[in-house]
Assembly symmetry: C2
Homo-oligomer: 265 residues x 2
DNA sequence: ATAAAGTCAATTGTTGACAATTGACAATTA
DNA sequence: TAATTGTCAATTGTCAACAATTGACTTTAT
């Protein structure tokens, strides 16, 4: 077994932060053991813990988390739907290759879906829809002006802005897909990489300004503009995260292949 | 138990067609029992079999398919990642509400992702990428000119064109997400609704022409144009399918809310 | 020495039983 | 009567054992 040996059970440092900020999670939906296992293993995959031997064995995880194979099977299925492992019937699950390309691809998909959310949001805009998003934006600005800034809370609040937008985008299928597939793993990953983006007040203002522009576009009914703005938010995050990762991983590949946002517009 | 009573086991008429056209499936990836259960139950959900009582009980399905609850649990997880059921921990799974809105939402998401595939395809275009897609398009044209036209084969061949494009789109994460989440359920559904679109030779030509335009756009390196064309293909399918469904369900809701492709472009 | 066939340990798929939780109904009390 | 609490059947979560399959290794024959 080549996976990292750690008897951390299901209460890692990262899982603890979930508990500290439960308001982001759906109310009355406790995180099951399977989800917690999936969170930890998913983090490991994105961190590149699974090396050349990319096997994710059921027995291995069962022993690591001190549970039986049942919950582990569920966890592996969760990781598959997040696109972090591939399951080959009767042969087992394998972690996807850890690379900057993978991270970039995830952000690019997320950017497209976020853009669609913004477009749907604008196309079915209501006064309540505008108000709720503005409320969350206001909270962000408030945090931004307070003395003690909590980096983690910034990312949570940023997610709440998008959450309000999702609540009013009138495409429940899209919201469901995003929530269970790309969203969580992406945010989880960003929560550990993104803080560097929020170090300066300027950068924070720049980020929040785009959300405000989306609301402005909503008032104008310009769904295409909102879509582009939302995509750009994710593209900016992508570039920042990749930049951070490249600094700590000098052997990384060239960045050309990582860009998906078209320049021919 | 309010679900439809049918002791069809895992070899329904629909599953049989899979076997008849295995080339579309990934080679060496046999369909597991769980996947077959998910296929049948997913079809039922899209057909609206689960009425006001939308519960999808594990025991019910286990008895219906004559297996234990293990594979059924897997099947329900598959349905969740396809966005067809919602799972509430310790409370069970519930089928999403069957409505034209759901179908439209699925197509709209699929259109966006298909557009992204096309854009990635163009942005990383290679001679081989052009050749393979053109080969599949040629097969379609060949079928179109032959005497005995097989409606089912048309849809399969149409999927092969898109499959070739996915193979060259250089975003494995996107392909993985589409394959395991939105793609199969959408195609499964279309395979039973779409044939009406291919009744006339004109309509078939019109459909295939868009794919050819995408290849042309690839030669020009116009990824934005390819994205729009790909989206339009799905929007056309959406409109046809919805039209078909509305004829058989006169009580359906107004169509305004179903459209997501922007008119402001 | 090479290739084919056979063997076997490791791993996943499946099963049935047991534990824990939930939501509804009934009993109790103010 | 209305609200609260207690009880219980139904359902999902978890577990350990068994069955089936796979991939690698060994053996064997040419």
């Amino acid at each position: 077994m080549s996976t990292r040996e750690k008897q951390s059970a299901i209460t890692g440092a990262f899982a603890a932060e979930f508990v500290k900020s439960p308001s982001l999670r759906k109310a009355h939906r406790p995180r099951s053991i399977s989800e917690q296992i999936a969170d930890e293993v998913g983090s490991d995959i994105l961190d590149g813990v699974f090396g050349t031997n990319r096997r994710v064995g059921e027995q291995d995880l069962a022993e690591r988390f001190q549970v039986s194979r049942g919950p582990v099977r569920d966890a592996i299925r969760i990781l598959e739907k997040r696109g972090l492992v591939e399951i080959f019937p009767r042969r087992g699950a394998f972690a996807v290759e850890h690379s900057l390309t993978l991270i970039a691809d995830m952000f690019n998909v997320q950017a497209t879906l976020t853009g669609l959310v913004a477009r749907c949001y604008v196309m079915s805009i209501t006064p309540a829809g505008i108000a709720e998003v503005e409320t969350e934006i206001a909270k962000f600005r408030e945090m931004d002006n307070s003395k003690n800034i909590d980096i983690i809370e910034f990312t949570f609040q940023s997610a709440r802005i998008f959450g309000a937008m999702k609540r009013h985008c009138k495409n429940e299928y899209l919201v469901r897909i995003m929530g269970s597939v790309t969203d969580e793993s992406l945010w989880d990953f960003m929560w550990r990489r993104q803080p560097l983006d929020y170090l300066t007040k300027d950068q924070r203002s720049q980020g929040i300004a785009k959300w405000e522009e989306i609301v402005d576009a909503a008032r104008d009914g310009d769904d295409k503009k909102a879509e582009g703005l939302a995509q750009q938010i994710l593209y900016d995050s992508r570039d920042n995260v990749l930049e951070t990762m490249k600094k700590s991983r000098p052997e990384s590949i060239s960045a050309d292949r990582l860009l998906t946002n078209s320049k021919t517009k």
